[in-house]
Symmetry: C2
DNA sequence: GTTCGCCTTGGACGAGCGCCCAAATTCAGG
DNA sequence: CCTGAATTTGGGCGCTCGTCCAAGGCGAAC
Protein backbone atom coordinates (compact mmCIF):
# COMPACT_ATOMS: atom_id res chain seq x y z
CA UNK A 1 0.00 0.00 0.00
CA UNK A 2 2.09 2.85 -1.19
CA UNK A 3 1.75 4.51 -4.56
CA UNK A 4 -2.00 4.18 -4.68
CA UNK A 5 -2.64 5.60 -1.26
CA UNK A 6 -0.05 8.30 -1.76
CA UNK A 7 -1.65 9.51 -4.96
CA UNK A 8 -4.94 9.45 -3.12
CA UNK A 9 -3.59 11.73 -0.45
CA UNK A 10 -2.33 14.10 -3.10
CA UNK A 11 -5.71 14.19 -4.82
CA UNK A 12 -7.38 14.85 -1.50
CA UNK A 13 -5.11 17.80 -0.84
CA UNK A 14 -5.66 19.17 -4.35
CA UNK A 15 -9.40 19.06 -3.71
CA UNK A 16 -8.94 21.00 -0.49
CA UNK A 17 -6.86 23.66 -2.19
CA UNK A 18 -9.28 23.99 -5.10
CA UNK A 19 -12.18 24.30 -2.66
CA UNK A 20 -10.47 27.09 -0.74
CA UNK A 21 -9.77 29.08 -3.91
CA UNK A 22 -13.32 28.63 -5.17
CA UNK A 23 -14.93 29.67 -1.89
CA UNK A 24 -12.94 32.89 -2.01
CA UNK A 25 -13.79 33.75 -5.59
CA UNK A 26 -17.37 32.46 -5.89
CA UNK A 27 -18.75 32.48 -2.36
CA UNK A 28 -19.38 29.61 0.06
CA UNK A 29 -22.78 28.54 -1.23
CA UNK A 30 -21.91 29.01 -4.90
CA UNK A 31 -19.27 26.27 -4.89
CA UNK A 32 -20.41 22.91 -6.30
CA UNK A 33 -18.82 19.49 -6.18
CA UNK A 34 -18.34 19.52 -9.95
CA UNK A 35 -16.59 22.89 -9.89
CA UNK A 36 -14.14 21.70 -7.25
CA UNK A 37 -13.45 18.48 -9.12
CA UNK A 38 -12.83 20.28 -12.40
CA UNK A 39 -10.52 22.82 -10.73
CA UNK A 40 -8.57 20.02 -9.10
CA UNK A 41 -8.41 18.14 -12.40
CA UNK A 42 -10.18 15.01 -11.19
CA UNK A 43 -13.44 13.23 -11.90
CA UNK A 44 -16.59 14.54 -10.18
CA UNK A 45 -17.28 11.37 -8.25
CA UNK A 46 -13.98 11.62 -6.38
CA UNK A 47 -15.24 14.39 -4.16
CA UNK A 48 -17.57 12.05 -2.31
CA UNK A 49 -14.96 9.34 -2.15
CA UNK A 50 -12.55 11.55 -0.19
CA UNK A 51 -15.12 13.62 1.73
CA UNK A 52 -18.40 12.82 3.43
CA UNK A 53 -20.22 15.78 1.92
CA UNK A 54 -19.67 19.10 0.20
CA UNK A 55 -20.04 21.16 3.40
CA UNK A 56 -17.50 18.89 5.09
CA UNK A 57 -15.03 19.50 2.26
CA UNK A 58 -15.51 23.28 2.40
CA UNK A 59 -15.19 23.39 6.18
CA UNK A 60 -12.01 21.34 6.19
CA UNK A 61 -10.53 23.46 3.41
CA UNK A 62 -11.36 26.70 5.19
CA UNK A 63 -10.00 25.53 8.55
CA UNK A 64 -6.78 24.37 6.92
CA UNK A 65 -6.16 27.72 5.26
CA UNK A 66 -7.06 29.68 8.37
CA UNK A 67 -4.75 27.61 10.53
CA UNK A 68 -2.00 28.64 8.15
CA UNK A 69 -2.96 32.28 8.46
CA UNK A 70 -2.98 32.18 12.26
CA UNK A 71 0.32 30.30 12.36
CA UNK A 72 1.86 32.87 10.03
CA UNK A 73 0.62 35.70 12.22
CA UNK A 74 1.93 33.92 15.33
CA UNK A 75 5.35 33.66 13.80
CA UNK A 76 5.37 37.28 12.64
CA UNK A 77 4.24 38.40 16.09
CA UNK A 78 7.04 36.55 17.82
CA UNK A 79 9.55 38.67 15.92
CA UNK A 80 8.07 42.02 16.91
CA UNK A 81 10.01 43.89 19.58
CA UNK A 82 7.41 46.54 20.45
CA UNK A 83 3.63 46.66 20.48
CA UNK A 84 3.70 49.23 17.69
CA UNK A 85 5.84 46.91 15.62
CA UNK A 86 3.39 44.09 16.20
CA UNK A 87 0.58 46.33 15.01
CA UNK A 88 2.56 47.24 11.93
CA UNK A 89 3.14 43.59 11.13
CA UNK A 90 -0.56 42.79 11.38
CA UNK A 91 -1.45 45.74 9.21
CA UNK A 92 1.10 44.75 6.60
CA UNK A 93 -1.10 41.74 5.85
CA UNK A 94 -3.90 44.16 5.14
CA UNK A 95 -1.98 45.74 2.26
CA UNK A 96 -0.43 42.57 0.93
CA UNK A 97 -3.08 42.20 -1.73
CA UNK A 98 -4.54 44.95 -3.92
CA UNK A 99 -8.30 44.77 -3.54
CA UNK A 100 -9.49 41.24 -3.18
CA UNK A 101 -7.28 39.09 -1.03
CA UNK A 102 -8.34 35.45 -1.42
CA UNK A 103 -7.35 34.56 2.12
CA UNK A 104 -9.31 37.32 3.83
CA UNK A 105 -12.32 36.68 1.60
CA UNK A 106 -12.19 33.05 2.63
CA UNK A 107 -12.14 34.08 6.27
CA UNK A 108 -15.21 36.27 5.85
CA UNK A 109 -17.08 33.57 3.96
CA UNK A 110 -16.18 31.02 6.61
CA UNK A 111 -17.31 33.33 9.40
CA UNK A 112 -20.79 33.57 7.92
CA UNK A 113 -20.89 29.86 7.14
CA UNK A 114 -19.90 29.16 10.75
CA UNK A 115 -23.08 30.79 11.98
CA UNK A 116 -24.96 27.93 10.30
CA UNK A 117 -22.53 25.05 10.98
CA UNK A 118 -21.83 24.06 14.57
CA UNK A 119 -18.62 22.16 13.86
CA UNK A 120 -17.11 24.91 11.78
CA UNK A 121 -18.02 27.47 14.43
CA UNK A 122 -16.23 25.47 17.12
CA UNK A 123 -13.09 25.13 15.01
CA UNK A 124 -13.02 28.82 14.18
CA UNK A 125 -13.70 29.83 17.77
CA UNK A 126 -10.62 27.83 18.75
CA UNK A 127 -8.50 29.57 16.15
CA UNK A 128 -9.75 32.99 17.18
CA UNK A 129 -8.98 32.23 20.80
CA UNK A 130 -5.46 31.13 19.91
CA UNK A 131 -4.83 34.29 17.92
CA UNK A 132 -6.19 36.53 20.66
CA UNK A 133 -4.09 34.82 23.30
CA UNK A 134 -0.90 35.18 21.31
CA UNK A 135 -1.58 38.82 20.49
CA UNK A 136 -2.72 39.54 24.04
CA UNK A 137 0.48 38.10 25.52
CA UNK A 138 2.51 40.26 23.19
CA UNK A 139 0.55 43.38 24.15
CA UNK A 140 0.81 42.59 27.86
CA UNK A 141 4.59 42.33 27.62
CA UNK A 142 4.60 45.86 26.21
CA UNK A 143 2.53 47.32 28.99
CA UNK A 144 -0.61 47.82 26.94
CA UNK A 145 -3.58 48.09 29.32
CA UNK A 146 -6.31 45.44 29.33
CA UNK A 147 -4.30 43.35 26.87
CA UNK A 148 -6.74 40.48 26.46
CA UNK A 149 -9.66 42.71 25.57
CA UNK A 150 -7.50 44.96 23.46
CA UNK A 151 -6.40 41.93 21.47
CA UNK A 152 -10.03 40.90 20.97
CA UNK A 153 -10.94 44.35 19.69
CA UNK A 154 -7.87 44.51 17.46
CA UNK A 155 -8.66 41.14 15.92
CA UNK A 156 -12.23 42.19 15.22
CA UNK A 157 -11.10 45.53 13.82
CA UNK A 158 -8.69 43.81 11.44
CA UNK A 159 -11.42 41.55 10.11
CA UNK A 160 -13.80 44.49 9.82
CA UNK A 161 -11.27 46.53 7.87
CA UNK A 162 -10.70 43.65 5.48
CA UNK A 163 -14.43 43.65 4.83
CA UNK A 164 -14.65 47.42 4.43
CA UNK A 165 -11.69 47.52 2.08
CA UNK A 166 -13.98 46.00 -0.54
CA UNK A 167 -16.01 49.19 -0.40
CA UNK A 168 -13.15 51.62 0.11
CA UNK A 169 -9.75 50.75 -1.37
CA UNK A 170 -8.24 53.74 0.43
CA UNK A 171 -8.60 52.02 3.77
CA UNK A 172 -4.90 51.13 3.81
CA UNK A 173 -2.61 50.35 6.68
CA UNK A 174 -1.02 53.79 6.57
CA UNK A 175 -4.46 55.37 6.92
CA UNK A 176 -5.48 53.38 9.98
CA UNK A 177 -2.15 52.80 11.74
CA UNK A 178 -2.11 56.18 13.58
CA UNK A 179 -5.65 55.62 14.82
CA UNK A 180 -5.09 52.06 15.98
CA UNK A 181 -1.88 53.18 17.61
CA UNK A 182 -4.04 55.02 20.13
CA UNK A 183 -5.38 51.65 21.28
CA UNK A 184 -1.93 50.71 22.51
CA UNK A 185 -1.47 53.64 24.83
CA UNK A 186 -1.89 53.31 28.55
CA UNK A 187 -4.55 55.97 28.39
CA UNK A 188 -6.66 57.11 31.29
CA UNK A 189 -10.12 57.72 29.91
CA UNK A 190 -11.20 61.30 30.48
CA UNK A 191 -13.53 61.75 27.56
CA UNK A 192 -16.52 61.47 29.86
CA UNK A 193 -16.33 57.70 29.75
CA UNK A 194 -19.00 55.79 31.60
CA UNK A 195 -21.87 58.22 31.87
CA UNK A 196 -23.34 55.52 34.09
CA UNK A 197 -26.40 55.00 31.83
CA UNK B 1 -55.33 53.61 -11.52
CA UNK B 2 -55.74 52.90 -7.86
CA UNK B 3 -56.51 49.64 -6.15
CA UNK B 4 -54.73 47.39 -8.58
CA UNK B 5 -51.50 49.35 -8.65
CA UNK B 6 -51.62 49.94 -4.94
CA UNK B 7 -51.91 46.24 -4.16
CA UNK B 8 -49.02 45.71 -6.52
CA UNK B 9 -46.86 48.09 -4.55
CA UNK B 10 -47.75 46.31 -1.36
CA UNK B 11 -46.80 42.94 -2.83
CA UNK B 12 -43.53 44.39 -4.04
CA UNK B 13 -42.68 45.64 -0.59
CA UNK B 14 -43.63 42.32 1.01
CA UNK B 15 -41.23 40.59 -1.38
CA UNK B 16 -38.46 42.98 -0.35
CA UNK B 17 -39.04 42.36 3.33
CA UNK B 18 -39.20 38.58 2.88
CA UNK B 19 -35.97 38.66 0.87
CA UNK B 20 -34.15 40.61 3.59
CA UNK B 21 -35.21 38.16 6.29
CA UNK B 22 -34.25 35.15 4.20
CA UNK B 23 -30.82 36.50 3.29
CA UNK B 24 -30.09 36.95 6.98
CA UNK B 25 -31.21 33.50 8.01
CA UNK B 26 -30.16 31.38 5.01
CA UNK B 27 -27.31 33.28 3.38
CA UNK B 28 -27.23 35.37 0.20
CA UNK B 29 -26.74 32.55 -2.29
CA UNK B 30 -29.09 30.15 -0.55
CA UNK B 31 -32.16 32.30 -1.15
CA UNK B 32 -34.33 31.21 -4.09
CA UNK B 33 -37.17 32.94 -5.88
CA UNK B 34 -39.62 30.31 -4.68
CA UNK B 35 -38.59 30.73 -1.06
CA UNK B 36 -39.10 34.47 -1.21
CA UNK B 37 -42.47 34.10 -2.90
CA UNK B 38 -43.68 31.57 -0.36
CA UNK B 39 -42.50 33.70 2.57
CA UNK B 40 -44.28 36.71 1.11
CA UNK B 41 -47.40 34.64 0.51
CA UNK B 42 -47.56 35.18 -3.25
CA UNK B 43 -47.23 33.07 -6.36
CA UNK B 44 -43.69 32.23 -7.55
CA UNK B 45 -44.03 33.98 -10.89
CA UNK B 46 -44.61 37.33 -9.22
CA UNK B 47 -40.97 37.71 -8.30
CA UNK B 48 -39.96 38.26 -11.91
CA UNK B 49 -42.89 40.51 -12.56
CA UNK B 50 -41.79 43.01 -9.90
CA UNK B 51 -38.03 42.53 -10.22
CA UNK B 52 -35.70 42.03 -13.14
CA UNK B 53 -33.84 39.13 -11.52
CA UNK B 54 -33.21 37.47 -8.18
CA UNK B 55 -29.91 39.30 -7.57
CA UNK B 56 -31.67 42.60 -8.28
CA UNK B 57 -34.33 41.76 -5.68
CA UNK B 58 -31.76 40.80 -3.07
CA UNK B 59 -29.66 43.90 -3.69
CA UNK B 60 -32.63 46.24 -3.45
CA UNK B 61 -33.83 44.53 -0.27
CA UNK B 62 -30.41 44.75 1.33
CA UNK B 63 -29.88 48.39 0.42
CA UNK B 64 -33.32 49.32 1.76
CA UNK B 65 -32.65 47.69 5.13
CA UNK B 66 -29.17 49.16 5.40
CA UNK B 67 -30.42 52.64 4.61
CA UNK B 68 -32.73 52.23 7.58
CA UNK B 69 -29.87 51.13 9.79
CA UNK B 70 -27.70 54.09 8.82
CA UNK B 71 -30.58 56.51 9.24
CA UNK B 72 -31.30 55.09 12.68
CA UNK B 73 -27.65 55.46 13.65
CA UNK B 74 -27.61 59.01 12.30
CA UNK B 75 -30.55 59.91 14.46
CA UNK B 76 -29.10 58.27 17.55
CA UNK B 77 -25.80 60.03 16.96
CA UNK B 78 -27.42 63.42 16.73
CA UNK B 79 -28.67 63.00 20.29
CA UNK B 80 -25.29 62.19 21.80
CA UNK B 81 -23.69 65.04 23.74
CA UNK B 82 -20.19 63.60 24.10
CA UNK B 83 -18.01 61.33 21.99
CA UNK B 84 -18.18 58.67 24.67
CA UNK B 85 -21.94 58.83 24.61
CA UNK B 86 -21.90 58.42 20.85
CA UNK B 87 -19.71 55.36 21.25
CA UNK B 88 -22.07 53.94 23.84
CA UNK B 89 -25.01 54.43 21.51
CA UNK B 90 -23.26 52.59 18.70
CA UNK B 91 -22.28 49.75 21.00
CA UNK B 92 -25.81 49.44 22.32
CA UNK B 93 -26.80 48.18 18.89
CA UNK B 94 -24.23 45.46 19.32
CA UNK B 95 -26.02 44.03 22.34
CA UNK B 96 -29.55 44.54 21.11
CA UNK B 97 -29.82 41.00 19.88
CA UNK B 98 -28.65 37.88 21.73
CA UNK B 99 -26.52 35.92 19.27
CA UNK B 100 -27.68 36.33 15.75
CA UNK B 101 -28.94 39.76 14.87
CA UNK B 102 -30.74 39.59 11.51
CA UNK B 103 -29.76 43.11 10.54
CA UNK B 104 -26.04 42.70 11.15
CA UNK B 105 -26.06 39.31 9.43
CA UNK B 106 -27.67 40.94 6.43
CA UNK B 107 -24.96 43.58 6.40
CA UNK B 108 -22.22 40.97 6.42
CA UNK B 109 -23.88 38.95 3.68
CA UNK B 110 -24.35 42.07 1.58
CA UNK B 111 -20.72 43.08 2.07
CA UNK B 112 -19.52 39.81 0.59
CA UNK B 113 -22.10 39.91 -2.18
CA UNK B 114 -20.96 43.43 -3.01
CA UNK B 115 -17.52 42.16 -3.89
CA UNK B 116 -19.15 40.34 -6.80
CA UNK B 117 -21.80 42.90 -7.78
CA UNK B 118 -20.66 46.31 -9.00
CA UNK B 119 -23.99 48.06 -8.47
CA UNK B 120 -24.42 46.80 -4.94
CA UNK B 121 -20.87 47.77 -4.12
CA UNK B 122 -21.47 51.34 -5.27
CA UNK B 123 -24.65 51.65 -3.23
CA UNK B 124 -22.98 50.29 -0.11
CA UNK B 125 -19.91 52.46 -0.56
CA UNK B 126 -22.23 55.45 -0.58
CA UNK B 127 -23.91 54.34 2.63
CA UNK B 128 -20.59 53.68 4.33
CA UNK B 129 -19.35 57.12 3.33
CA UNK B 130 -22.46 58.74 4.73
CA UNK B 131 -22.12 56.91 8.03
CA UNK B 132 -18.45 57.76 8.33
CA UNK B 133 -19.07 61.43 7.60
CA UNK B 134 -21.80 61.71 10.21
CA UNK B 135 -19.75 59.92 12.84
CA UNK B 136 -16.62 61.83 11.90
CA UNK B 137 -18.38 65.19 12.29
CA UNK B 138 -19.59 64.13 15.71
CA UNK B 139 -16.11 63.05 16.77
CA UNK B 140 -14.55 66.24 15.42
CA UNK B 141 -16.95 68.36 17.50
CA UNK B 142 -15.69 66.54 20.59
CA UNK B 143 -12.04 67.15 19.85
CA UNK B 144 -11.20 63.60 18.87
CA UNK B 145 -8.00 63.65 16.82
CA UNK B 146 -8.03 62.60 13.17
CA UNK B 147 -11.84 62.29 13.28
CA UNK B 148 -12.42 61.12 9.74
CA UNK B 149 -9.99 58.23 9.97
CA UNK B 150 -11.08 57.40 13.48
CA UNK B 151 -14.65 57.15 12.23
CA UNK B 152 -13.54 54.82 9.44
CA UNK B 153 -11.73 52.57 11.91
CA UNK B 154 -14.64 52.62 14.35
CA UNK B 155 -17.10 51.66 11.62
CA UNK B 156 -14.90 48.77 10.54
CA UNK B 157 -14.36 47.68 14.13
CA UNK B 158 -18.10 47.61 14.77
CA UNK B 159 -18.69 45.42 11.72
CA UNK B 160 -15.81 43.17 12.70
CA UNK B 161 -17.13 42.74 16.21
CA UNK B 162 -20.55 41.81 14.89
CA UNK B 163 -18.86 39.09 12.86
CA UNK B 164 -16.73 37.87 15.76
CA UNK B 165 -19.68 37.78 18.12
CA UNK B 166 -20.83 34.69 16.23
CA UNK B 167 -17.71 32.93 17.48
CA UNK B 168 -17.56 34.53 20.91
CA UNK B 169 -20.82 35.56 22.58
CA UNK B 170 -18.85 37.23 25.35
CA UNK B 171 -17.75 39.99 23.01
CA UNK B 172 -20.30 42.40 24.47
CA UNK B 173 -20.39 46.16 24.51
CA UNK B 174 -19.28 46.31 28.14
CA UNK B 175 -16.24 44.20 27.28
CA UNK B 176 -15.06 46.40 24.42
CA UNK B 177 -16.23 49.88 25.48
CA UNK B 178 -13.19 50.63 27.68
CA UNK B 179 -10.83 49.59 24.90
CA UNK B 180 -12.58 51.56 22.20
CA UNK B 181 -12.75 54.52 24.53
CA UNK B 182 -8.99 54.81 24.11
CA UNK B 183 -9.58 55.60 20.45
CA UNK B 184 -11.34 58.79 21.45
CA UNK B 185 -8.51 60.27 23.46
CA UNK B 186 -6.29 62.98 22.07
CA UNK B 187 -3.36 60.72 22.70
CA UNK B 188 0.21 61.51 21.81
CA UNK B 189 1.72 58.25 20.65
CA UNK B 190 4.68 57.26 22.80
CA UNK B 191 4.45 53.50 22.54
CA UNK B 192 7.30 53.58 20.09
CA UNK B 193 4.89 54.48 17.34
CA UNK B 194 6.37 54.86 13.90
CA UNK B 195 9.63 53.04 14.26
CA UNK B 196 10.16 54.44 10.81
CA UNK B 197 10.44 51.00 9.25
C1' DG C 1 -71.39 46.56 -20.75
C1' DT C 2 -67.40 46.69 -22.99
C1' DT C 3 -62.61 47.85 -23.28
C1' DC C 4 -58.16 48.52 -21.41
C1' DG C 5 -54.15 48.01 -18.20
C1' DC C 6 -52.03 46.23 -14.66
C1' DC C 7 -51.55 42.42 -11.58
C1' DT C 8 -51.57 37.50 -10.81
C1' DT C 9 -51.49 32.53 -11.59
C1' DG C 10 -49.34 28.07 -12.18
C1' DG C 11 -46.84 25.38 -14.87
C1' DA C 12 -43.14 24.47 -18.50
C1' DC C 13 -38.23 24.66 -19.91
C1' DG C 14 -33.44 23.42 -19.76
C1' DA C 15 -29.77 23.38 -16.70
C1' DG C 16 -27.29 22.28 -12.72
C1' DC C 17 -27.33 20.37 -8.21
C1' DG C 18 -25.66 16.62 -4.19
C1' DC C 19 -25.07 12.19 -3.78
C1' DC C 20 -24.57 7.43 -5.17
C1' DC C 21 -22.68 3.23 -7.38
C1' DA C 22 -21.31 -0.55 -10.55
C1' DA C 23 -17.57 -1.16 -13.31
C1' DA C 24 -12.76 -0.11 -14.65
C1' DT C 25 -8.03 0.84 -13.24
C1' DT C 26 -3.88 0.50 -10.62
C1' DC C 27 -0.35 -1.80 -8.15
C1' DA C 28 2.04 -4.13 -4.06
C1' DG C 29 2.37 -8.72 -2.28
C1' DG C 30 1.73 -13.77 -2.96
C1' DC D 1 0.23 -14.33 -13.41
C1' DC D 2 -3.11 -13.74 -9.91
C1' DT D 3 -5.33 -11.75 -5.85
C1' DG D 4 -7.24 -8.15 -3.32
C1' DA D 5 -7.57 -3.60 -1.66
C1' DA D 6 -7.48 1.14 -2.76
C1' DT D 7 -8.50 4.60 -6.08
C1' DT D 8 -10.83 6.41 -10.08
C1' DT D 9 -14.33 6.78 -13.66
C1' DG D 10 -18.56 8.45 -15.69
C1' DG D 11 -23.14 8.37 -15.72
C1' DG D 12 -27.76 7.95 -13.32
C1' DC D 13 -31.21 9.38 -9.61
C1' DG D 14 -34.51 12.69 -8.00
C1' DC D 15 -34.70 17.25 -7.14
C1' DT D 16 -34.52 22.41 -7.19
C1' DC D 17 -33.05 26.21 -9.62
C1' DG D 18 -33.91 31.04 -12.49
C1' DT D 19 -36.53 32.50 -15.91
C1' DC D 20 -40.26 32.78 -18.97
C1' DC D 21 -45.11 32.96 -20.65
C1' DA D 22 -49.92 32.05 -22.08
C1' DA D 23 -54.03 32.56 -19.78
C1' DG D 24 -57.15 34.48 -16.26
C1' DG D 25 -58.83 38.10 -12.82
C1' DC D 26 -60.19 42.64 -11.72
C1' DG D 27 -60.99 47.49 -10.94
C1' DA D 28 -61.23 52.04 -13.63
C1' DA D 29 -62.55 54.64 -17.66
C1' DC D 30 -65.72 55.36 -21.17
Amino acid sequence: MATSAERGRRVRSRLLQAAAVLVAEQGWNAVSTRMVAERAGVAPGLVHYHFASLPALLAEAAVQVMEGVVDGADQALSQARTAAQALELMLADLDRYPGDDPASRLVSEAMLAASRDEGLRAAMAGLLDRFRTRLGDRLAAQGVPDPRRTAAVLAAALDGMMLHRTLDPELTSTAVAPVLGRLLQDGTPDTGQEGHR
